[in-house]
């Protein structure tokens, strides 16, 4: 899911993405209380550490993204942990790139909002497994949406990337299910153990 530096021939693609991401992050940061800093920082590290966990799928392995879970827990601020997590990944792990952070954060941060919204629907359904079902939907939809966004960006930037984009999408399809299962059970767990954490989100 990470695009490295130097992939795009036309700098307008990543410059505009960085500007959009920077603008959104600037607005969120300016409106944020200082007491939210530890929460954002913790979710940043959570996102970062999750990406170090490799899940074996068939012959290969993919690492967790947990974009959906970050969205569920952080609500309106979900964009920030993903942005800072990607910055740290580029700086500390050489995962992804610095100039492509705009693109990477938009393709993963926007789906986090979708996940937040989807999981929020859970309140309207009283049945026992609702947090799991909607967590599953949120987690897998976030990955799926991220993949589709990434695919459209790649194809929009350069027609020649069609094959690359589809290979990426197909390679990550198992992750859609895995993330759904993990986000679903994490949602279920949080609802049972610390519902406060879900209710106090964002705001």
């Amino acid at each position: 899911m990470h695009i490295s530096d130097g992939v795009f021939r036309d700098p307008r693609v990543w410059v505009s993405a960085c500007a959009a991401a920077g603008g959104l992050a600037g607005v969120l940061l300016a409106r944020m209380d200082a007491e939210k800093i530890p929460r954002v920082a913790l979710c940043t590290s959570f996102f970062f550490v999750a990406s170090l966990v490799h899940v074996p799928i068939g012959p290969t392995s993919v690492h967790l993204l947990l974009v959906g879970l970050v969205g569920i827990v952080m609500g309106r601020l979900a964009f920030l942990p993903i942005l800072f997590g990607l910055v740290l990944q580029a700086l500390l792990l050489q995962h992804g790139g610095l100039t492509t952070i705009g693109i990477n954060v938009l393709t993963m941060g926007l789906p986090a909002y979708g996940a937040y919204w989807l999981f929020g629907l859970e309140r309207h359904f009283g049945f026992k497994a609702a947090p799991f079902v909607f967590g599953f939907l949120a987690g897998s939809a976030a990955v799926m949406l991220g993949l589709l966004l990434l695919k459209s960006v790649l194809v929009f930037a350069d027609e020649a990337f069609v094959g690359v984009a589809w290979t990426l999408v197909i390679a990550h399809l198992p992750l859609v299910v895995v993330e759904g299962l993990i986000t679903g059970s994490a949602g279920m767990f949080l609802k049972k153990v610390e519902p406060r954490l879900l209710e106090a989100r964002g705001a």
Partner: protein
């Protein structure tokens, strides 16, 4: 899993380690930008050569570099395989129904050169000083305090969470995790991550309140400070000059 110790070799001594952090971060970032923008093979190769030279100058061991660069190499390899097969246009040679396209191959090669050069430049930029010193340099370069604070806290928490996760995983393994069916395993991982979130969020809130009560106002105070010397400026002019040269050559090409 390995810990992200980018500043593991910050204690070495080299012209890059002695370079003033503020000038270093700004100039190498400019060079990185110029490298990423390189539109032709000769320029991308020049960028890669510069990056390799700077890494060699920083004396960071090659094994360490390789350990960190392998993901980028994997990504490049992926592009080098897929782009030529799906590139279309003029074919270099045929392989049954598919063929290796010349345009795809040359594009993948250029991307790989730029990606590799850019990623190598991160080592002289981030790996030649302790991370908190680099953050201080960023603060001096007028990066907003909130941003620096979030980066500093996150960096610290990465190690805490990593240890915590490790402990939870060994405990789970002792209880038979990994032997259960796949479906069950993912559910356990989900609960574990939820537990990790609950525990550490409560802990960070307490830590932050403790910091505030001890007078923390959002600025990190560290003992080491920056002193700009003439040699720092000379190095700055050299690296920034290379960046400008690369950039203009690219704009003209």
């Amino acid at each position: 899993m390995h810990l992200p110790e980018i500043d593991k070799y910050a204690h070495l001594d080299s012209p890059l380690h002695r370079w003033d952090g503020r000038v270093k971060v700004a100039c190498i970032a400019a060079l990185l930008l110029a490298v990423v923008l390189a539109p032709t093979y000769p320029l991308a190769l020049a960028g890669l050569a510069l990056a390799v030279a700077m890494v060699a100058l920083s004396r960071i061991p090659a094994t360490f570099i390789f350990l960190h660069v392998r993901w980028v190499l994997l990504f490049c390899l992926f592009l080098l395989v897929v782009l030529p097969l799906t590139g279309g246009g003029e074919l270099l040679w045929r392989l049954g129904p598919a063929g290796v396209s010349r345009a795809g191959l040359s594009k993948a090669g250029l991307i790989s050169l730029r990606a590799l050069a850019a990623v190598l430049l991160i080592f002289p930029m981030m790996g030649t000083a302790r991370f908190h010193v680099t953050l201080k340099a960023l603060r001096r370069l007028r990066v907003p305090s909130v941003v620096v604070q979030i980066l500093a806290f996150s960096y610290r928490y990465i190690f805490v969470l990593f240890d915590e996760l490790h402990r939870m995983l060994s405990a789970a393994r002792a209880r038979g995790h990994g032997r259960a069916r796949r479906l069950r395993m993912f559910r356990n991982v989900g609960s574990m991550l939820g537990m990790l979130l609950v525990r550490s969020l409560n802990r960070t809130t307490r830590v932050y309140q403790a910091m505030l009560s001890r007078g923390f106002r959002g600025e990190m105070k560290t003992l080491d400070d920056f002193h700009l010397r003439p040699t720092d400026l000379v190095k700055g002019v050299l690296v920034a000059g290379a960046a400008v040269l690369l950039f203009t050559a690219g704009a003209l090409a």
